[in-house]
Symmetry: C2
Subunit: 301 residues, 2 copies
Amino acid sequence: MSAAKLIALDWGSTRLRAFLLGDGGEVLQTRQSNDGAATLKGADAYAAALAALVGDWRAEHPALKLLACGMVGSQYGWREAPYVRCPADAAALAAQLLTLDDQLGIVPGLVDDAAQPDVMRGEETQIVGALALHPELAEEACLVLPGTHSKWARVKAGRVTGFATHMTGELFALLRQHSVLNRLMPADGSSPASPEAFLKGVEAAKEDGGLGHQLFAVRTLGLFKQLSAEQLPDYLSGLLIGHELASELKGDVPRVALIGDPALCARYALALTHLGQPAPLLLDNTAPAGLWALAQTTSLI
Amino acid sequence: MSAAKLIALDWGSTRLRAFLLGDGGEVLQTRQSNDGAATLKGADAYAAALAALVGDWRAEHPALKLLACGMVGSQYGWREAPYVRCPADAAALAAQLLTLDDQLGIVPGLVDDAAQPDVMRGEETQIVGALALHPELAEEACLVLPGTHSKWARVKAGRVTGFATHMTGELFALLRQHSVLNRLMPADGSSPASPEAFLKGVEAAKEDGGLGHQLFAVRTLGLFKQLSAEQLPDYLSGLLIGHELASELKGDVPRVALIGDPALCARYALALTHLGQPAPLLLDNTAPAGLWALAQTTSLI
């Protein structure tokens, strides 16, 4: 077993994931807690959450540095890290690393201010990881990170040239849990997935009428029994993801890589191929690889 | 003072509004309670809510009939009234009136099933009322009823030829109260209206990128102080209403009449004229006039 070289932290709004990385960046150990940035207030709370999760790693390897990405660096995080402007590559991110007590580095976020400003924190590191793992993407690719706030980033010649956020996952959760649309649906999680209903939603998103109108069909299709209660959440998901894809699949689209939760990525892959796109590359969380790559360009390891 | 002729009930999801109508349909008295259909379960609850609000009217005028419209006739209401298919006029609605105990009539809803089914309950009566008050609209008009679920109905030769629902108001409430977008906003109701921010949202809705993407700008414009916290709710409102208008203002649009809450209608009127439409006709709740018109074509008065 290789020696531990870095404690990598993927510290988002809802979860803290820690990776003990070895010589070549390989993951030696993984842990996670629910101490996401959204639940923590003040530096002491962050320090305590870190000690609770990886205090023993630090005691065992006192010389190890830590590198974190995600909402830990937001203005409500441990300490605010800057935003690096697009176009940007790994070197530009590493150059603006924020360091706390010479022990913990926080990766800056990215801002795309070509039009209205758009921001990411954490995904920039996953993109660096994806490019490290798949160098063939660096020439030109479209990297998609589905989630609460999905990110669509364009990469050219190793740099992120621009990106857009879509609030697809958050809209789904809001409508699923709090809107009139949930009344005809089964309780959360009780329904088997219906790819048929999902693709029906993807198809409906291609029609005229607008999202705010089409959403109402989730109610009426249930009301008139054209979809079963179990199918309605998938239809809603297809409608929302379909709108996201319709916005992003305009013009020439380079090779698409999907990064993140495998079940969610599979859903996007199904919609993409249904719409005539080539099968995308599927990648699981690439944050550890990204943190390793960024650490290599700094003095952290 | 004219004699009481009808007890008209506008019985929606959240409120019950009662109108004691006189000889020519004029409103003699008005009352309202929070006993909306969404809070009531079972016939006894409806009967009790009705007795609590207008029991004295009924005791004083035992011969008076009652006519109700709205969610009181839904499948979760007092008794399910049918949906009449578009195209439909007042006579078609009156012909399918549901009557309870020969005392209370419930107006049917409307369904437009030309594409995916769309439904309304209550708004059909407001449309009948608008046409009764403004006969010049009957030839051809676009009647807009903004709200939680905004309705856009086309009228031609006195009939509703079709309509579409937009979940604009519900999306606003969900995003305002429950989403990440609310974090930078002031507490509900504490901000003076900003027509400037509202119209900035209306303008943004004309751009590419899709609603799910544009919504995220409500966060970033706040983050980068391009809009103040007080302006963000109005920007969000403009974005959502702008998308609704963009969907509905395609092709030739006949005269537009806005029906409903004056403050909300003023907001839609501002957006419409900003987008180059003629100033719309503004009408307050036309349900009493609609119920009176429908009662006249039945045996209720």
